[in-house]
Symmetry: C2
Subunit: 469 residues, 2 copies
């Protein structure tokens, strides 16, 4: 049993059969329709029931993608791009069947322009592969959503993560895209100039469109210089409010903190158990600074003053990589530590984001709500952005638990929206949050639908995601 059982679309059986035959002929062994391939391509970290595609094409070029889209468009068969399968809201489900486009073989770096701090890559490359490739250039790509996701998938879902507070999200770090449109032809959204006022910002329209408007076939990214020094540390606070006030002050003072993560009491307890630590069980901030010896020391000193002002514990920090890893151990293992609280249960990872002035209030109300449900549900937040996740541990075989978990996430979303927040800071809508998007942006939905109809009139691109047409 899964939460909110997903809605099946109508299948165009005749079209699908025709497309499968043609793709087999065209792609040979690079086309697969065995059960295991189909399962693999919806087996993600989502809590929603998988809906399998009818076949999988392993593409190797933008021309391949164009060919697949042309065949599918001619027969009105869905096309669903697949990166690494780390999305959380059933973005890869095939409610009306169709063809999964697997990008694992399109993972090359096409160019690096070190002087311009940019590179162009194929969408299948993962962020870790890219950073390994870049190491010798002294540059890196900062966005870190946790999972070793593909760059194409990260662009498609407007991913961010722990260091968005300093480096922004994918919307801020994609300079240009090539995309295959509904006619199977390639669209170039922009050139490499750092800024442009030339027409509609198609780059940012496709970023976050979750594959519903076209299929990304190359991504031009901004890069950053690898920091000379990274400083990291942590400190506990007497209350959630104190921790959040310290975050607000840090941001207001313009301290360019690279990461500032909030773990609540239950999360710290889980980390202590899992990683054999003895952190005080209180709201705790984990911070990281990027810069030179000089600037990291300066920023750490400024932050330490703020910590004192809000009654935090002594701020322990270091620029030694091994020590830093030790200090940050709790944060790094937070997810597995939470799961280990009750290994027999399933985990539902939520995702809301509120203005930071409301973060303490939103987290506190959510903790009270959790206490009433009786769930084990630790909280981790990208506090600098007001974004936080609750990992609800629940028994997905118990109808009662499922209903309760669903009701909890609905209340959490309503709470975040009432504080001028969003139902998703970084996980996206997929199938899982369609009703929440409608709740959040009711007047924007008709505009989104009009765009979808304009660019994908036959609804072949990842249908049934973001909204129902």
């Amino acid at each position: 049993m899964a939460l909110k059982d997903v809605i099946a679309g109508s299948r165009n059986e005749e079209g699908i059969a025709a497309v499968l035959g043609m793709l087999k002929q065209q792609f040979g062994d690079r086309f697969q329709k065995g059960q295991s391939f189909r399962e693999q391509h919806t087996h993600t970290t989502t809590y929603l029931t998988p809906q399998l595609p009818d076949g999988v094409v392993f593409v190797e070029s933008s021309a391949d993608v164009g060919a697949v889209v042309k065949v599918c468009a001619a027969h009105r068969v869905p096309v669903i791009p697949f990166g690494t399968g780390s999305s959380l809201e059933a973005h890869l489900n095939a409610p009306s069947g169709g063809v999964s486009i697997d990008f694992s073989r399109m993972n090359r770096v096409l160019s690096v322009n070190a002087e311009d701090l940019d590179c162009t890559v194929e969408p299948g490359i993962t962020r870790e592969e890219l950073n390994t490739y870049l190491r010798d250039t002294g540059l890196f790509f900062p966005i870190d959503p946790g999972a070793n996701a593909s760059i194409g998938g990260m662009a498609a879902t407007r991913a961010s993560g722990t260091n968005a507070v300093r480096y922004g999200t994918m919307k801020d770090n994609v300079l240009a895209l090539t995309v295959i449109g509904a006619d199977g032809e390639e669209i170039r959204t922009a050139h490499r100039a750092r800024k442009s006022a030339a027409g509609y910002d198609l780059t940012r329209l496709y970023v976050g469109s979750e594959g519903t408007l076209g299929v990304i076939t190359s991504v031009t990214l901004k890069l950053q210089g690898i920091p000379e020094k990274i400083g990291g540390g942590l400190c506990g606070f007497p209350s959630l409010k104190a921790a959040c006030d310290a975050v607000i002050m840090t941001i207001q003072m313009g301290i360019p903190v690279a990461r500032i993560e909030l773990l609540d009491e239950m999360q710290i307890r889980a980390c202590n158990l899992y990683s054999k630590l003895s952190l005080s069980e209180q709201p705790t901030l984990f911070v990281e600074f990027h810069g030179t010896d000089e600037t990291v020391a300066l920023q750490s000193a400024q932050f330490a003053e703020i910590v004192t002002e809000f009654g935090g514990d002594e701020f322990r920090w270091t620029v030694d990589a091994a020590e830093r890893a030790q200090l940050w151990k709790a944060r790094h293992n937070a997810y597995w530590a939470s799961r280990a609280l009750a290994p027999e249960l399933s985990g539902l990872s939520t995702d809301v984001c509120v203005p930071i002035s409301r973060l303490a209030e939103c987290v506190a109300e959510t903790q009270a709500d959790i206490a009433e449900t009786g769930f084990l549900a630790p909280i981790v937040g990208h506090a600098g952005d007001g974004n936080f996740h609750v990992l609800v541990l629940f028994d997905n075989k118990s109808p009662e638990d499922v209903v309760k978990a669903e009701a909890f996430t609905s209340r959490l979303t309503t709470r975040a929206l009432s504080m001028d927040g969003t139902c998703t800071g970084e996980h996206g809508i997929g199938q899982g949050k369609i009703s929440y998007l409608a709740q959040e942006l009711p007047t924007a939905l008709p505009v989104m639908r009009a765009i979808k109809r304009g660019l994908d009139p036959d609804d072949i691109f990842n249908p049934g995601k973001i909204f129902r047409l």
Copy 2:
């Protein structure tokens, strides 16, 4: 005589007559159709021939805008939003006639959330009015396009300016918008959360859409803390290449320079004459740093090292406001200094942007081109972004000069595009650059047109801008 005489659209006389009558009835004295009002609302800094609207409504609320759009939509009559009239590419022309919506009375600050570093304003407020309002909060809105433009106009044209290198452009600084769509109803594009992955990024679709997709009626902006200290300075370089290399190194080292402006030899000569200075006539960088005493000193020292490395003159800088103004005098007066080189001539302000690795080459080729034309045409660049402007001084009564100026801007654009640049870093497309956009993004244009048709099927929103349908 003007450059590239603008193309008139077809006028829907019957609809226009009906709308003028209804608006008079509905808005009384807040509706005007006298010649002087009509002229005022296209009298901008553009070099293109004005095309007057048929009437002007002075709106006072989003509901007013909705009412105007409803009347105009019912009769298929164009609607053209007007902020302060500082756009450069004839964004405000009315090639098919229609109604200008004047926002000067919609200039209130609706809310300031100091802890969240954001505010929401009506679109008619100018950036200087906003910053005056904010002064006591310790916050400011950084984007500075030179002109005291309206925030709505800046959002609509994706404006930026001198400090985009640090703070980004309007696309990076607008959190949310309300927009009146083609049915006259209000659309809210996002909530106030710092980031969101909830559906298509409509905020950034409307930013830069130049009024062609709807009419903005409120803007939620990111704000910054007013820097404790501002340091400013300048230094000359032996060559354009050396100056640009210093810029590249500054950016690569991650020095968070707030402004880094390049003035070429001719611009410095003009400034010397106009402001009675005695700067050495060589490519010169003007820089500004924002921070604390400590960080400004640190950044200035790092920059000074870079200057030395590339053979620049001694880097003179100061944190004293009066001295800084003196050092930056040449930059502040650059436009008027250029115009004073030949007060009898007209000025054509161009705008291209290239990857910074190509900036020196692009500027040098452009200088050679200018020399061949015989024009006086100083160059000022927002070097950190690779964005530069040529102010071509030409006789707009001489057909020969007009043709020559036109040919020059066309070559400049082609040159920038060949270097992976854009035909406009910040001025936008309007009417003036329609052909250049088609040259720059040929495969993206059909997508833009499909979006336009989807959101504005009767083409009432600022028709004839960005592209021809």
